[in-house]
């Protein structure tokens, strides 16, 4: 089966071709089925390969399949080749699995949309690019997928391009991502320059000979990490992700929560060999991750748009994953990536279900009391919220706790402290969202809005993801040796830190109880503020107007970027346009034409039109020339 690994990206690509070329003339039902089936088939192939991989002994679980040589130019050799190892197979499973569910969900969610076929074509193209990204065996093919998902992200954010805010958001995402891609490219150049290859295996084997802390490896990992901050929305390049919520909600679930934005984490984990050789880069990764985690979480507290709350929550959770990678716990990062894919996709789909039921309303201030109208959405949403808050035994508990544990046990107490506070805030704002949306008084207009439960095509994916959010964390059960199947499976694909952390069981249990207590405290505060005494939030915000204003306006970062980067760039371009291009370049061209014209206007007076004048001129010329020839 492994020889057929190329089928995995092929199916979505075929789906893209069919839906993109002839989808317009197909009935909507067929378009939806083709789109979902293409991804579903990929998922089945992935499962078959996964089972086959499981049969191999642990140290043989790394298979490369070369499809064909793509570029062969002297020492520069790149193949279209796939690397099947525990890391890529986990990513393939998560991507194709979650994608399938979201495709099915989209059939219901997007049914009334004009661009139904266009939507499915883009979505399939996205899955194709994402599967290429995670299964590539070299940096360049990975970069192809990397750019492909960026393109699809742009297309899907701006899906409703008639809306100015949507097309602006698409542009913003694309431009901000280009900054990151620039870093990725520089990293790739450095890697090729240093190792003479872009192949993962060759590069990592060659890198092992370098000493820890080597300057060139630090440089390339920092460049790669810049790429990761762009794609995975970390400080300083996170600003595009909240705006990306202009896209359809299933897109937010698939691209901007579950899969694409985790590409940066995946890339860092893939390059773990390089990163463990660069302690400075690791510290940067951990610091950026921890800062982003708490920073985005605080913004999430003050948002009223349900999707924006989730967007900032995604940024924050991605920060956790980077924190895990930064403290050397790459497996924990990938574990959190997986559980996050489940519960965050579920949260987004749940919010989509709410928006669908509320006829497009996204402001939580106009919701409330939806619990009794949409029970399935409510209960699955609750499961996901508990998972993200880190309540035992939901999926997020295991992964988040592992990250906190590794930060603490690795001696990174500051990062641990930040992450713990962020966990408290996470629990708070997530339950704030739940209480504002599903509980309390009904604040919508009953004559205008009739909330209703979503159709089965939307409800079933919710329930499947709910089940995964409930039990998905159990594959990484901690403490008891041998039960953390996830870590044991993934370990061969990751280069571990030199000093592995071993802590006694009681210590681990204490940590767990503590982090859960933090989460419960967050939930309790949210309950107090938004259920018991709904007047409390206003009182609190009134007491700290400056802080609240700062957080509500997202620390004015968009405005700062506008003033510091966008405006100077615009003004510089204006100057180059009006000043240099129009005055200097055009001036030189037009000026030479004007000069010639001015000269001609005088010279033309010589042209009388009388043949005899010309004849006289010829005669004078002849006399002069002859006179010269004779007289010299």
């Amino acid at each position: 089966m492994m020889d057929y690994v190329w089928l995995i990206p092929l199916f979505p690509f075929l789906g893209f071709l069919i839906n993109g070329l002839v989808g317009k003339s197909l009935p909507k039902r067929t378009v939806g089925i083709i789109g979902s089936a293409a991804v579903g088939l990929s998922f089945l192939v992935t499962v078959a390969i996964f089972l086959e991989l499981l049969k191999l002994p642990a140290d043989a679980r790394s298979v490369q399949k070369v499809v064909y040589t793509w570029i062969a130019s002297g020492p520069f050799q790149v193949s279209v080749a796939y690397l099947i190892d525990p890391l890529s197979i986990i990513m393939l499973l998560v991507v194709s699995g979650v994608s399938t569910l979201i495709h099915i969900y989209s059939i219901g969610y997007m049914y009334d949309d004009e661009g139904f076929y266009r939507y499915f074509a883009y979505l399939n193209l996205f899955v194709f690019a994402m599967l290429t990204l995670v299964s590539a065996n070299n940096f360049l093919l990975m970069f192809v997928g990397w750019e492909g998902v960026g393109l699809c992200s742009y297309l899907l954010i701006g899906f409703w391009y008639e809306k100015k805010s949507a097309s602006d958001a698409g542009k913003k995402a694309f431009v901000v991502n280009r900054i990151g891609d620039f870093g990725f490219l520089l990293g790739m150049f450095l890697i090729f320059w240093t190792f003479g290859s872009l192949d993962f295996k060759t590069v990592f084997a060659a890198a092992a000979k370098y000493p820890v802390g080597s300057g060139i490896i630090t440089a390339m990992t920092l460049c790669l990490f810049l790429g990761a901050t762009g794609k995975s929305a970390q400080i300083p390049l996170y600003t595009w992700l909240p705006d990306a919520m202009e896209g359809p909600t299933p897109v937010s679930a698939l691209i901007h929560a579950a899969t694409m934005v985790t590409a940066g984490v995946f890339m860092v984990a893939r390059c773990s060999t390089l990163f463990v050789l660069a302690p400075i880069s690791l510290t940067v990764v951990a610091a950026v991750g921890a800062l982003t985690a708490i920073y985005a979480a605080t913004i999430g507290m003050a948002q009223f748009d349900i999707k924006r709350v989730l967007a900032y929550s995604t940024v924050s959770q991605l920060g956790y994953m980077f924190l895990a990678c930064g403290v050397g716990a790459f497996t924990s990062g990938i574990f959190h990536l997986m559980t996050h894919a489940f519960f965050k996709a579920l949260l987004f789909l749940g919010s989509g279900s709410v928006i669908h039921g509320m006829h497009g309303e996204q402001d939580m201030r106009n919701m409330g009391g939806l619990k009794k109208y949409m029970p399935i959405t409510y209960w699955t949403f609750i499961v996901a919220t508990l998972a993200i808050s880190g309540i035992f035994p939901f999926a997020g508990f295991f992964s988040k706790d592992e990250i906190l544990f590794h930060s603490f046990a690795g001696g990174h107490y500051v990062f641990w402290g930040i992450a713990t506070v962020a966990a408290f805030i996470t629990a708070f704002y997530m339950f704030r969202a739940v209480f504002m949306t599903f509980h309390g008084e009904e604040k919508f207009d009953h004559h205008q809005v009739h909330p209703h439960e979503s159709p089965p095509s939307m409800a079933i994916p919710l329930m499947v993801l709910g089940a995964l959010s409930l039990v998905g964390g159990l594959v990484g059960f901690p403490i008891i040796e041998g039960l953390n199947k996830f870590r044991d499976f993934l370990a061969p694909a990751i280069t571990p830190m030199v000093h592995e952390v071993h802590a006694p069981a009681w210590f681990e249990v204490t940590m767990m109880v503590f982090s859960m207590a933090v989460a419960v405290a967050g939930i309790y505060v949210a309950y107090k503020m938004y259920m018991k005494r709904p007047e409390l939030p206003e009182k609190v915000t009134a007491k700290i107007p400056v802080v609240y204003d700062l957080v509500y306006h997202k620390y004015y970062v968009d405005e700062i970027y506008d003033a510091a980067v966008v405006e100077p760039l615009k003004n510089g371009s204006e100057f180059l346009w009006h000043g240099v291009d129009e005055k200097v370049v055009d001036g030189a061209v037009n000026g030479s034409a004007t000069t010639v014209g001015w000269l001609s206007s005088h010279l033309r007076k010589l042209e009388t039109g009388f043949v005899q004048n010309y004849a006289l001129a010829i005669l004078i010329g002849v006399v002069l020339i002859t006179g010269y020839l004779i007289g010299r």
Partner: protein, 101 residues
């Protein structure tokens, strides 16, 4: 009796200058045309004078070429003048100044 070559040349130059003056100052295209013919023939005269002086037939050969070309030129030139007259009703070159832009 032998006519010295300077006589030939003097007559030739006189004819040529008359032709040039005719071309430059006369208004009627036909007269200008005749002046050009006169210039051509003055050149022919110079050719023959030199042929006699150098005792070579090359000059006489050239005269035949010039005569042939002049005949062809007259045919074309007169046809042009007729065409101009038909078109504009005049052959005075003062009125033919559309060569300028």
């Amino acid at each position: 009796m032998v006519v010295p070559v300077s006589y030939f040349l003097a007559l030739s130059v006189a004819l040529f200058v008359l032709g040039v003056i005719g071309v430059l100052i006369r208004r009627n295209a036909l007269v200008i045309f005749m002046s050009i013919e006169m210039m051509l023939n003055s050149v022919n005269l110079a050719f023959i004078g030199f042929a006699d002086y150098f005792k070579a037939v090359d000059g006489q050969m050239f005269v035949f070429f010039v005569l042939t070309v002049a005949a062809a030129e007259v045919a074309v030139g007169l046809a042009l003048i007729v065409a101009i007259f038909r078109n504009r009703g005049t052959v005075y070159v003062d009125n033919l100044n559309i060569l300028k832009w």
